[in-house]
Symmetry: C2
Subunit: 517 residues, 2 copies
């Protein structure tokens, strides 16, 4: 396989799964000159006039859709580890004797472990999409026939929109739907909140199947997915295990180190002048990020500061802020707990977004770059502030990208991370996999100090004389290496490229090698 050095000096393949790939060229440097993917024109004459698109079962729907060997089937991950639909789709395809399919999930979870069997027996050729847990391990071990392609949420929209990846059949699990195919995630026994990760699929796939266990009379309101884009509707007994879809409650961290990191992050935002009336921020649903949001909330309460918008994944904590009047809006991309689902129903300031509005880099701008601050995680950060979010230092592919890459566009990108985990340094000389260019990562907050990217002289100036522990990243790294007894071991990887990591513009920023041990 031919590899070339991209603009970050990473060796990347020039061809991925038989298609020409463009090596990463730098932030904003790749200028697309093509046209968006153009789906086939359909006619209402070929669809039931009464709007009833229900067919008896998944196998019939796949047959009607013209499922053939080698096709691509997509799915979304809003049902998370409770998803029952993707497994049934590939079970049906296997029963039909189909081979060499490509699965394009927006993310996969441990509940999808059964896909390994489908890969072993030839039903699935490979997966493009984040692979968590067992599927990541399978890919890491070099067992998948095709190359994994990891894209951010915005990058997945970009790839589908631009025709970089073509969806033959989209199967959209819908907690509620009507016979026309209008569908929503905010109601029903498998309620998950949003269905935004399936929106691109519904618009650009050649054929769209909605699968629900809660059929309602037309019209299904809201129509997060529009029936006018849907070919068939299938009703199942159960599409998801509610207990694994949304958590009843999201939890803040209890670790003293993580609490310290969260507090330092909030204080940094304050001293950097970010926490002002009308500001905006995004923080994930991880324990540290949630704790950060609580420290920020207290600060806002105390000083009477109101945000214009906060971006979710929504949680009870963001909902509390909205209902307390600490922000005008939650711009929500996915719902992490039941309070988020409730708020989406009840609060007019709780707004649904999609990867198109929030993250698509091949649009006319997106929301990510308008955020005053974003707080993200990382598995590794190097001395040039380049960061890794998909592999561990042992080289294993264990995490998806999510919206992480897209969020780096924020005005201030902060990574609150422990300086080491399980005695393995998080701060390194060179990241195992480079997912985020250092020029976009502004601040690292660890329990041993805060490192500001030297490219952000404005932030360095603002924090001059601060009582916060501002240090150089090298200094913190060296301290950690002394504590844990040296640098992390180099991963034991082979030459084989098992996955490509795509940047927000579709270029290849890095790749993942086969893990030997």
């Amino acid at each position: 396989m031919k590899l070339v050095k991209n603009a970050l000096g990473r060796l990347v393949p020039v061809e991925v799964n038989g298609k020409k790939a463009t090596p990463y060229m730098g932030v904003g440097k790749f200028k697309p000159d093509g046209r968006k993917y153009a789906p086939p024109i359909r006619t209402a004459a070929d669809y039931p006039a009464d709007g009833n698109k229900i067919v008896s079962d998944l196998a019939t729907a796949l047959k009607n859709a013209g499922l053939k060997d080698g096709m691509t089937i997509s799915s979304h991950h809003h049902l998370r580890n409770g998803d029952m639909v993707a497994n049934e789709v590939f079970a049906a395809a296997a029963a039909m004797g189909k081979k060499d399919l490509m699965w394009l999930p927006s993310a996969s979870f441990p509940c999808h472990q059964g896909m390994i069997e489908h890969m072993e027996n030839g039903v699935i050729h490979h997966i493009e999409g984040s692979m968590n847990g067992p599927l990541g391990a399978y890919c890491s071990e070099g067992k998948m026939r095709g190359m994994g392609v990891l894209r951010s949420h915005g990058g997945r929209w970009q790839a589908i929109q631009d025709g970089d990846v073509h969806i033959d059949i989209a199967v959209i699990a819908a907690p509620t739907a009507d016979p026309f195919g209008n569908a929503t995630g905010d109601q029903g026994p498998a309620a998950c909140g949003l269905l935004g990760f399936a929106l691109a699929d519904s618009i650009y796939a050649d054929h769209v199947i909605v699968v629900t266990d809660n059929l309602v009379e037309f019209p299904c309101i809201p129509w997060q997915i529009q029936g006018n884009n849907v070919d068939q509707v299938v009703v199942l007994d159960q599409i998801g295990d509610a207990s694994k879809i949304v958590s009843g409650t999201t939890q803040i961290t209890k670790s003293p180190d993580r609490l310290l990191i969260a507090e330092l992050t909030a204080k940094f935002c304050d001293e950097a002048g970010i926490v002002q009336d009308g500001f905006s921020f995004q923080a994930g649903a991880g324990g540290t990020a949630l704790s950060f949001a609580l420290f920020l909330r207290d600060m806002m309460r105390e000083r009477g500061i109101k945000a214009r918008f906060v971006r979710g994944g929504s949680t009870q904590y963001l909902v509390d802020m909205l209902e307390e009047g600490l922000t005008d809006y939650i711009l929500d991309g996915q719902t992490f707990d039941l309070e988020g689902v409730r708020s989406m129903h009840e609060n007019s300031g709780h707004i649904n977004t999609s990867p198109f509005t929030s993250y698509n880099f091949h649009g006319k701008g997106n929301f990510a770059s308008m955020l005053d601050a974003v707080v993200l995680g990382a598995t590794e950060v190097d001395v040039n502030f380049n960061a890794n979010v998909v592999t561990h230092s042992d080289g294993k592919l264990l995490h998806g990208i999510g919206g992480w890459m897209n969020c780096l566009a924020s005005k201030c990108t902060i990574l609150p991370i422990p300086s080491f985990r399980d005695r393995i340094p998080v701060l390194v000389d060179d990241v195992t996999t480079l997912c985020g260019p250092g020029e976009l990562i502004d601040v690292i907050v660890t329990e041993r100090g805060i490192a500001i990217n030297p490219q952000r002289q404005d932030l360095l100036d603002k924090l001059r004389g601060s009582s916060l522990p501002i240090r150089s990243i090298e200094e913190i790294k060296n301290e950690v290496e002394e504590i844990v007894g040296g640098k992390p071991e180099a991963p034991d990887v082979g030459d084989k490229v098992v996955a490509a990591i795509n940047w927000v513009d579709g270029t290849v920023i890095d790749c993942v090698r086969e893990v030997k041990s």
Copy 2:
């Protein structure tokens, strides 16, 4: 100009404005085999990271958009006769010395009379879109250089989506917008309710300019138009004359004949078994249609019947029905009065739709065919139930198509019409312009009786023995001719084709000739 006979025996041009045109082939007979129009891929790298797309004025925006001679500029008509933006756009284009532009409004109004001067001096080559009042007269007189093309609301979406017509620059008047270009019609001094007629323009135009007089901080909620599709934002002092945008109140008819027609229509619906729990209907904002809705409402109240949905144009009468619990939903396409605008804000059952969801024939179905009954107007109906909605018997082009053609897909299409107007029969041997094929028009209700299309044997059976005045259409027509002293005079028209009438699938169903006198 070469003309051929289409499937309805109408002579239609095989070329319209330099493009090959397909003659009408029958209901549902034309099967498209192409792909949707593919807009150019953009990159966020070319748009301001802070989301501020404001430019100083319209001329600058048009210059930035690369306005060139011969380009197509589109606009929407939600500001109706109060629109101030389209005139300013072409004034700016004229000042820039541009020539031969095509204007693609979703409809034009008397306030756009100034476009005649632009056509006279070469700035505008021709208009594709409904031309009401003076522009219709100008076109009728054969003075426009290009051919007018009249499309239904759904047909305009179809044409833009399919690339039948290409928009270089869409200018979207927005009652409220933010600097990113998110825009809504439901707020602001020029509030008009929806912006659905501009949605296709925002998605498919090469360049999109939002023009507002009510700039709000990001995010503008709701975003009926998504800023991610918008290139530039222009702020003007005033985009519309509120008094001409929505009426304070919509009026029911006071004419005894029209009231009779409305009552007969409601009674027909009842006896035909349409008025049942969970049914649906659509009626326009004209006096007769509103009166029909009131008769229906009384019937529903009396019997405790609830509709599943009614389709607007919304008015105070539909809003009353929603708030009284007589329907679960209003599926609204445009807002006709202030009560409609209020309700859109306040009622979770008042739902925004677009020509895509409601009418696009080149989608995977649409809402129009799911309606149990629709009540529409017509200028003429012939003995085969073919109907005209754009010209009068004198041949003059005076009306747009609106959603009329799309609505014919309903399960029961009823035209409540006076049998004559100003002593000119409405029922004729042959319509001046054929806009609706008789096979889709089920019932004509006049003050002299109700005519059921012989193709609807099921309805004839249901109404057998009814006390309603069921008569043949010929019988009513003959009676009218006796009263007014004969058939209407043939229009005094020449050979020149001044406008093409496009069916919902983009084929040419008829054309309009130059009026001589």
